[in-house]
């Protein structure tokens, strides 16, 4: 061992490096990591705390009971208000009205569901647009579909 002094010193250097690493790692180790799996548990709460943008189907009816009732009676009962309007949070935040609720009356929006497409289920009501509107003698404007169809209850 007398002639291995330099090896011992080199190994000591290595040990010091490892110890420094263990210390640094200990102090940088993220809080709540590994609590319920190999991840930072706080991250789950961070996800949970994000504010929803859309409401749920009941939240519109709280104020617009009549509209909601019309909707439920008709064939659009399963269509969420927010599909044709906008996410609830553009209109209401923290129980207070913040802006008017927009509505998309465009034929393009109606077409996303009712344009005739070979891949749609056969029984689903669909027409060739804009031919259908032209046939009925309508001008293609924004809101052309609503001239004949009530969006809240299309069969009315």
């Amino acid at each position: 061992m007398e002639h291995a002094k330099h090896i011992i010193r080199a190994v000591l250097l290595l040990v010091v490096a490892v110890v420094v690493f263990v210390l640094v790692r200990h102090f940088l180790y993220p809080k709540s990591f590994g609590l319920h799996g190999y991840y930072r548990f706080d991250s789950v709460a961070e996800y949970a705390s994000a504010a929803p943008v859309h409401g749920d189907r009941g939240s519109c009816a709280a104020c617009h009971e009549e509209k909601a009732a019309t909707l439920t009676r008709g064939k659009h009962a399963s269509v969420s208000c927010e599909v044709c309007h906008a996410p609830l949070s553009t209109h209401v935040q923290e129980e207070a009205r913040v802006a008017p609720m927009p509505v998309d009356r465009s034929m393009q929006l109606c077409a996303t569901c009712h344009q005739k497409l070979v891949a749609r289920p056969k029984g689903f009501p669909q027409v060739v647009l804009p031919d259908h509107a032209v046939e009925k003698g309508a001008q293609i404007t924004n809101g052309v579909c609503q001239e004949c169809h009530n969006a809240h209850n299309p069969s009315e």
Binding site: G34, Y38, V44, P52, V53, S78, S80, P121
Partner: protein
Amino acid sequence: MPTIQANNLPPHGDQETPLPVLNRRGFLKHGSRALGASLATLVLCDLADLMQFAQAAGLTPQSGESVLGGYDWTKHRYVYLIDLRKCIGCGACVRACAKENNVPRNYFRTWVERYEVSRTGEEVVDSTNGGMDGFAPHVSGNDVTKAFFFPKLCCHCTYTPCVQLCPVGASYRTLEGVVLVDEKRCIGCGYCVQACPYGSRFIHPVTHTASKCSLCYHRLTRGLTTACVQACPVKARMLGDTIKVGDEVAEIIATQSVRTLQPELLTDPNCFYLGLSKEAR
């Protein structure tokens, strides 16, 4: 937030034995021993963290810890069901998802594909803008005999390759079976994006971290359903909970002919399909 409980820490070794009066030699001896003991404690602390991880990996439900006030994550186990025979390809789900989760343009947490198959077997698949704007009539010139829309999202696999190979533990699976990404720890290496067989992940162009469907975790924890399920006008998309008694979706999955995507990879997806045709990949 819960922190590591004191009783989870390993005992502090022989530090409690009273130290004798020290001379220089003794000081060195005991000093080094104390140093060694505290180092050992540090190492053991890390080991304890690992042990906890090993415990949790066994998915032993641990109650009492609430993720968000009133919501108990041990009481849910989410499954997703898509009925391809009902989907009309309107893209309302894609639009709702993009708004709900602020998804960057040209990237998709959920999207809809369209398959058109002819009698002679030509397959034409498209998904312009992820189906966000719906689909336009499309003339392939083929004699299309079979066509369907094919919504997709993260399958929230049980044995998910993305979580397996995330180098830093930024991708994880919650107790309820939701696969999430810790945006504060993700290093943006993109390995999980490469590993996902379904193309459900992407690197967010602004945050430069991996991003994916979170199953609207912020909505689930408030008792709401996901944005895509809520937006679906034909109930082609459904969210279920296998722990809930009498759950409609869980019942369908348990009793009917459902399929998952690329089952041969054994990732064990929790997103199930009704009416999945052989062409669909």
